[in-house]
Amino acid sequence: MPFPILRTPFVVLSEIINLLEPNEIVTASFCSKNLKRLLKRHYQQRKPLEWRLSIVAHGFWGRVDIGKLSDEYKKKPVLSAKHVFEIRHKSEHKLIQMNGYKREFSSEYPALYFQDRAKGLKMIVEYATDLFNLDVYALLIDGVRIWAIDWINNRQKTMLVHFELKKNICSLDGDEEMDCALRNARASDFYIFNEIVSVNFRFNGKLGPADHLLILSYGHWVTLDNLMNFDFIIIIIVGSRLSVSDLNSFLRHWRAGGSPRLTYLRLHLKTDTILENFDEDLEVVETDEVFKCRFKNGQEFDINGGYRIQRIDGEMATIHFEDGCFELVVSISDIVL
């Protein structure tokens, strides 16, 4: 039985809109220009402050996701942009020709098909940010969409909170894109890098300040200088090639008050590094105590013994080394990171 929603009083209409999921709002906005205007006006008057808009674009498609605070910001797709090439794999009968693109309704949200991938991604981002009156919160892209960093920096005043450079499945060497991302991406909380870089890749700039730095693969490029200049609270690097001498130097730097915001460092070392002895001047003391660490996302893990080291200002840290994994946890006993 149809329900003439546009004939309901304003307060009722607003209540119904408030009960819709972001993907349903976007889908409804394609019903007519008039309804889109109405939805847009609704969000201009009541900015959905608890919603977080993310761009997720890698491989053959781009997508806009929205996460809500009530759902722990778990992202759900609201709109996607694909290349027209992908239509060949589908039946065209449900496709609707729009002005400059084709549209279909795919499972729970609209999918738009474009000749030009970049144009498609820009269009869906413009569409969703305009509809919801939101800035982009997170940018998760591969090297092909590296242009999106400058594009986002130029189109909004607020800084990204989360930036992630994903692995480009079409390229074996993302040095240029990685360098561009390290130099130009600005985020206040998370930097995540997963791009493939060559063995010769180096970076001589600064990174941070932000809360988290995660280099989830190909972390061989991170030098001692890089590590000392990174300004983060939590640093995790996979594939690090730092030597025992580098680790001692870093500890010396930390002891002297360097990297003051750092609370947790984890290096998964690629080399067969065996950290048996520390330089004497570091004055480390062996311990067999167990420390529980807890990340903001609720993930918990234990640090079983290791060494204690004291900073010049009296702050303590625990060092743990096992199976090629070096950890430094600042402050001891049941730490909440």
Binding site: M1, P2, P4, I5, L6, V12, A28, S32, E108
Partner: protein, 188 residues
């Protein structure tokens, strides 16, 4: 706890029978009010049930009616169909003095009446019932495409909107011209 009478001149509704809650506490007699919709059928509703409606609650708290006065002056809601008012009264009775659950299984099931029910509930300012009704409306479009939503919510297409706008402009133009001609006639 409601009874329905055909017309305001019908016999007085039966008094509610309630068991005393405890021997110690003296029973406070529940006050009742009377409402009718477009069909003039009078519904007897307790003040407790009517508390759900901010509109009626506001009205009765200022009146200080006795039982006889309330019976002689049923609240007229001429803009609400009788069957819709009956649904509303039933819901208020079912939820009298109870906290409303997040999901309500006592919602009226007739979908074809949902639009009228929403308008009535909004007019009577019954917040919880309005939220439940709006949830039903929102649920209608779950997993639906824009074309399906357009049908379910009766959204005119862009072409239909444009045609309606043209028509409205044309009508407004004619009306303005008519007014000008009438004004000119008056001047003569």
């Amino acid at each position: 706890m409601s009874s329905t009478e055909q017309g305001t001149s019908s016999a007085a509704p039966a008094e509610p029978t309630t068991a005393p809650e405890s021997a110690a506490a003296p029973e406070v007699p529940e006050s009742f009010y009377y409402v009718h919709g477009k069909d003039k059928v009078v519904h007897k509703v307790s003040a407790g049930a009517l508390q759900h409606s901010a509109l009626i609650h506001g009205m009765i708290s200022n009146l200080g009616y006795t039982e006889e006065q309330a019976k002689a002056n049923p609240f007229p809601f001429e803009n609400i169909d009788g069957d819709i008012l009956q649904m509303v009264v039933d819901w208020c009775n079912q939820h009298k003095g109870k906290p409303t659950p997040p999901e309500d299984t006592n919602l009226p099931k007739q979908k074809e009446k949902l639009f009228d029910l929403v308008l009535a509930v909004n007019y009577l300012e019954i917040k919880e019932l309005l939220t439940y009704c709006c949830k039903q409306v929102a649920m209608m479009v779950k997993g639906k495409s824009p074309e399906e939503i357009r049908e379910i919510w009766m959204i005119p297409t862009d072409a239909e909107d444009e045609a309606a706008e043209k028509e409205a402009k044309k009508r407004a133009g004619k009306e303005a011209a008519g007014e000008t001609a009438a004004a000119a006639g008056d001047a003569k």
